[in-house]
């Protein structure tokens, strides 16, 4: 295992050029030795510490002086550590707050960096570009460019190593008889020349592999090689089956290589990648590398000239086409090109709220530090009297915060790595249908992000340490000169505390909303046992009658139907059905119009429900009961039949529940894929039955419409097998059966229904946990801040309170004097929070406000908000109880002795 990249990066930059190799080599050797002796985790920690130690030495040498140049000594750091240990509560609360802020900041920064400014992990990966044709008339990229590519290859001077790439899905069958779909990159030898990466085993593709009649060969990716072939070192030369075609493995690429996108198999281009007429041929991507000294602007200029010439020579196909050059990272992430400036703006603006959040959190920590500094007034006065400059005292307070923020940054960055892993898993499962992410997007923290976290830690230390330090020392100077109480909480602290209370109030509400939304998922119990079902999606291959010459004889059962029969022959399988979507997974929304009265107007949310085409026996196999009407019949498949079955959630949401839905007419207006409101509505459909809810849910909530379909009419059907004894362990058998039936049949998502439906529930559970933790932290910070203000006020006004008591001032007036400032701060925060919560209730539904069906609901919500604000105010004032009681117990004599 290599030394951490950030450590290598840091030492490379700090070491003098002539010592760079020695220093980084030492790091590598020392780290590998530690990994062998003490394991990866301990080695990582020790190497991190040692790297920082060596980096400091190199930095000192670089600056030509013994100190690192920031004017602090180890003594300051020791003192800072002692102070943090002395006040464990404050250190823990402040540290946790800063760590959380840095966790959020670092994870977001890394994610945005990888998406918006990706660093392609290949030699000079930043110079790899895609050339495409932008069709201005369609507003889309035209990828049928085989004709143009042959011209570019001959003519372009600014882009070299041009390669044509296409992704094709094949069925990989291994010796154990299991098949799985695999994305194969068809790109040939030029692609590997472009990637400039040597294979781990064997060789890459060569020109001879592309000749007609050459034996099919494949290069494997590291992950596939380890996962499916047990990292067999003798794999090179072995034959594997791809769509039942024996293919020889000629090489294995190193770990992390997935060029061009996320590929694990590479083959020579198919015979159809030959020269075509303009605008003809299969869609492909053209990749290349900017020549030495060429810029992307120069390449763009060269391509623009090409575009003008082609528009003149081939106006029929090229009149609206513009040749463009974009970096590989942007070409893959953004389906349509985005201007570079827009990408930069998105990157910059995404950081603004994060930094504001950090400042808010650190402001509160600064409040606590400030309050603690006031308790050290004596110590600071003595240091000042002994000759310590203001800069020295502020520096000490800054170092204390810096140490705290440094530890917090370490925790935050470590957690960010894990957080990123979760976030990428969620992105993969929820947004790209389980497809692998581009190979340069990884759950890792780059050196740039570590630096960014370091910068955040310095900002945190400035806000939480230097700022209070400046205020304290200024007040100290004035106090010494004028012999009066120096430290004061000004308006800034009032704003900080009030803002904190607002955040404290808003977070639980957001948590509640997310939880309510997620609770639907978490609480929903389907009317069938998830663990009894094994599922798989047919992703391609196995064309009807393929083995009979590809003519698709009607009487020849398709491979999908034969697989269904084969599954039914298994003794543990009780039934098999097919559907377009699995129950309890996302269904794209369809907006419907009802012919007759309905519960809600056909607005944004009202009539948007999920929809799926299912086999006739779908409800029977799942064991879902019909609440009204009937299920599907064979006659429903006939031409012109209009029967649909809706679920109970549809009846409740759209029809208002309680009424007989059978016979209701409905039709589609728009759907998730085609939102054009001006399109012709679909034909009228008739509800023939209502089934209990089985988990059809779209973005707008539960509710589903089911259409009957022949299994053979579904492009990529989901197979659902019911095994009363439990489906655990059956998925591998499904794969094996699919290979037996037809080796070209590609099955994806072979798993139990429990696994297939866990994504949304895990997603909500994760976010609910995060938000609860944040709410708790925000509440603790607010209470800590308020407590600090109160304690400070009492301690600073001991003498005044004593005199008031001696002069017979009523206790109520004393309480009022102590309470005045917290009252303003809490009042300001609670009122602002109330306005932010209550205002949306006043926004009309037409303008995006909540839909309030009647006045009583509005009043109920308002009462809820008022009650909630009252509770927050009560909790905040409870934090004032201790200091207030202390103020009331002050004896006049003691108070005058202490301060006088």
């Amino acid at each position: 295992m290599s030394a951490p990249r950030w450590a290598r990066w840091l030492l490379t930059r700090l070491a003098p050029r002539e010592r760079e190799e020695e220093v980084v080599g030492d790091l590598e050797e020392a780290h590998q030795g530690r990994v062998r002796r003490r394991g990866r985790i301990v080695a990582a920690v020790l190497t991190a510490l040692e790297t920082l130690d060596v980096a400091l030495v190199l930095l000192r040498q670089r600056r030509g002086r013994r100190r690192a140049g920031i004017g602090f000594s180890w003594l300051d750091i020791k003192l800072a550590v002692r102070m943090l240990v002395k006040h464990p509560g404050l250190s823990l609360l402040g540290g946790a707050s800063i760590a959380f802020a840095i966790f959020v900041g670092a994870a977001t920064f890394e994610l945005f960096s990888q998406v918006l400014a990706p660093a392609i992990p290949l030699p000079e990966g930043g110079r790899i570009v895609e050339i495409h044709l932008w069709d201005a008339s369609r507003g889309d990229v035209e990828r049928r460019v085989l004709f143009d590519a042959s011209t570019w290859r001959e003519e372009l001077r600014t882009v070299e190593d041009l390669t044509i790439f296409r992704s094709r899905e094949r069925n990989l069958v291994t010796d154990d008889g299991l098949g799985e779909p695999a994305e194969v990159a068809e790109m040939g030898a030029t692609g590997f020349r472009l990637a400039r990466t040597a294979p781990l085993l064997g060789r890459v593709l060569v020109a001879a592999d592309e000749r007609p009649g050459a034996r099919p060969v494949v290069v494997l990716g590291y992950d596939l090689w380890t996962r499916r072939f047990g990292a067999d070192p003798e794999i090179v030369g072995r034959d594997i089956r791809l769509d039942d075609i024996p293919t020889t493995v000629v090489g294995v690429m190193p770990e992390g290589f997935g060029f061009p996108i996320a590929h694990q198999m590479w083959m020579a281009p198919g015979p159809d990648q030959v020269a075509y007429e303009p605008g003809a041929g299969p869609p492909v991507m053209v990749l290349g590398r900017l020549s030495d000294g060429a810029t992307s602007e120069a390449a763009q200029a060269e391509l623009a000239a090409y575009g003008r010439r082609m528009a003149e020579d081939h106006p029929l196909t090229h009149e609206h086409l513009q040749a463009q050059v974009v970096s590989l990272g942007h070409a893959i992430i953004f389906p349509t090109p985005m201007p570079g400036l827009l990408i930069t703006m998105v990157g910059l603006t995404s950081n603004v709220p994060l930094i504001l959040f950090l400042i808010l959190v650190c402001g509160n920590v600064g409040l606590l530090m400030f309050a603690r500094a006031t308790a050290r007034e004596g110590e600071l006065v003595v240091r000042s009297a002994l000759g310590a400059s203001r800069r020295r005292i502020v520096g000490q307070l800054f170092v204390e915060s810096l140490v705290l923020a440094g530890v917090a940054a370490f925790v935050g960055v470590s957690a960010a790595g894990q957080g990123l892993r979760w976030a990428l898993t969620i992105v993969q499962e929820e947004f790209v249908d389980g497809e692998p992410l581009p190979f340069w997007i990884e759950a890792r923290i780059s050196p740039e992000t570590v630096l960014y976290a370091g910068l955040l830690a310095v900002v945190a230390a400035l806000v939480a340490g230097a700022w209070p330090g400046l205020r304290v020392t200024r007040a100290l100077g004035e106090g010494l000169k004028r012999s009066r109480d120096g430290f004061r909480f000004g308006g800034v602290w009032t704003v900080v505390i009030a803002s904190q209370i607002v955040v404290t109030m808003l977070f639980p509400v957001v948590t509640l909303l997310v939880r309510e939304e997620g609770q639907v998922e978490l609480d929903y119990a389907p009317p069938f046992k998830l663990e009894e079902f094994a599922v798989a999606q047919v992703q391609g291959g196995g064309a009807p009658g393929e083995e009979d010459g590809g003519a698709g004889e009607p009487e020849s059962p398709t491979p999908v139907l034969r697989l269904e029969e084969r599954l039914l022959a298994e003794p543990e399988v009780a039934a098999v059905t097919m559907a377009e979507r699995l129950p309890m997974t996302y269904h794209p929304w369809h907006q419907v119009e009802i012919d007759g009265p309905s519960a809600a107007p056909p607005d944004e949310r009202g009539h948007r429900v999920g929809s799926a085409r299912v086999a006739l026996d779908f409800f029977d196999v799942l064991g879902a009961e019909l609440v009204q009407g009937r299920g599907f019949r064979f006659s429903d498949l006939e031409e012109g039949a209009r029967a649909v079955v809706v679920d109970q959630a549809f009846v409740d949401r759209v029809l208002g529940g309680g009424r007989n839905a059978v016979g209701v007419q409905l039709r589609y207006l728009a759907n998730e894929a085609n939102r054009d409101p001006s399109q012709e509505p679909g034909p009228w459909l008739e509800v023939v039955g209502v089934v209990e809810e089985i988990g059809a849910r779209c973005f707008y909530g539960p509710g589903g419409i089911y259409h009957p379909v022949r299994a053979t009419d579904l492009a990529e059907p989901h197979l659902i097998a019911r095994l009363p004894a439990g489906a655990q362990g059956f998925p591998p058998r499904m794969r094996a059966l699919a290979v037996e039936v037809d080796p070209t049949l590609r099955l994806g998502g072979v798993e139990t229904l429990v696994e297939a439906t866990s994504g949304p529930r895990d997603f909500y559970a994760f976010w609910t946990t995060i938000l609860v933790a944040v709410s708790g932290l925000a509440l603790l910070l607010s209470l800590g801040g308020i407590y600090a203000v109160m304690s400070y006020t009492v301690s600073q006004r001991t003498r005044e309170i004593g005199i008031r008591a001696a002069l017979g001032s009523p206790r109520a007036r004393t309480v009022a004097a102590v309470f005045r400032r917290p009252l303003i701060q809490v009042g300001l925060g609670v009122c602002t929070g109330f306005l932010l919560l209550a205002l949306p209730l006043a926004v009309p539904a037409a303008l995006g406000g909540p839909e309030l069906t009647d006045r009583s609901e509005a009043l109920r919500l308002l009462a809820w908000v008022v009650g909630y604000c009252g509770v927050v105010a009560l909790v905040c004032f409870t934090a004032c109880a201790g200091p207030t009681l202390r103020a009331l117990r002050i004896q006049p004599g003691e108070a005058l002795r202490v301060d006088g």
């Binding site: 290599s2 010592r19 190799e21 020695e22 220093v23 980084v24 080599g25 030492d26 590598e28 050797e29 020392a30 590998q32 030795g33 040692e50 130690d53 060596v54 400091l56 030495v57």
Partner: protein, 111 residues
């Protein structure tokens, strides 16, 4: 301290370099050797600084070795003790030996 004698850590570094020889003495191996023989924790940064100081005084000379796989294919900076370094190490150890010679009980306890 006279210029031809060595501080304690400098002495340990020079002795480790002598023991390892000109083909095997470099920062990591010296730090490891001192750790194994003395049982004390050695900061690699300290070895860097010490070797640079010794080189500036002319007590060791350095050159780049051959690439090594355990270093990710990078070359170590090998150090060789110069005659001046050897002489300084001898002077220092002689001084220590002379100081310890009369302390029989101390020497016995250590043995």
């Amino acid at each position: 301290m006279p210029s031809d004698s060595l501080a304690e850590f400098e002495l340990l570094v020079v002795l480790a370099a002598l023991r390892l020889g000109a083909e095997e003495a470099y920062t990591v191996s010296i730090a490891r050797d001192i750790e194994e023989r003395t049982g004390r924790f050695v900061r690699r940064a300290s070895v860097y600084i010490t070797l640079q100081r010794l080189e500036a005084k002319g007590m060791v000379a350095s050159r780049l070795g051959e690439p090594r796989p355990e270093r990710g294919g990078r070359r170590p900076r090998l150090v060789a003790v110069t005659p001046d370094g050897f002489s300084a190490a001898r002077t220092t150890t002689d001084a220590i030996r002379a100081m310890v010679a009369d302390l029989d009980g101390f020497a016995g306890e250590r043995a």
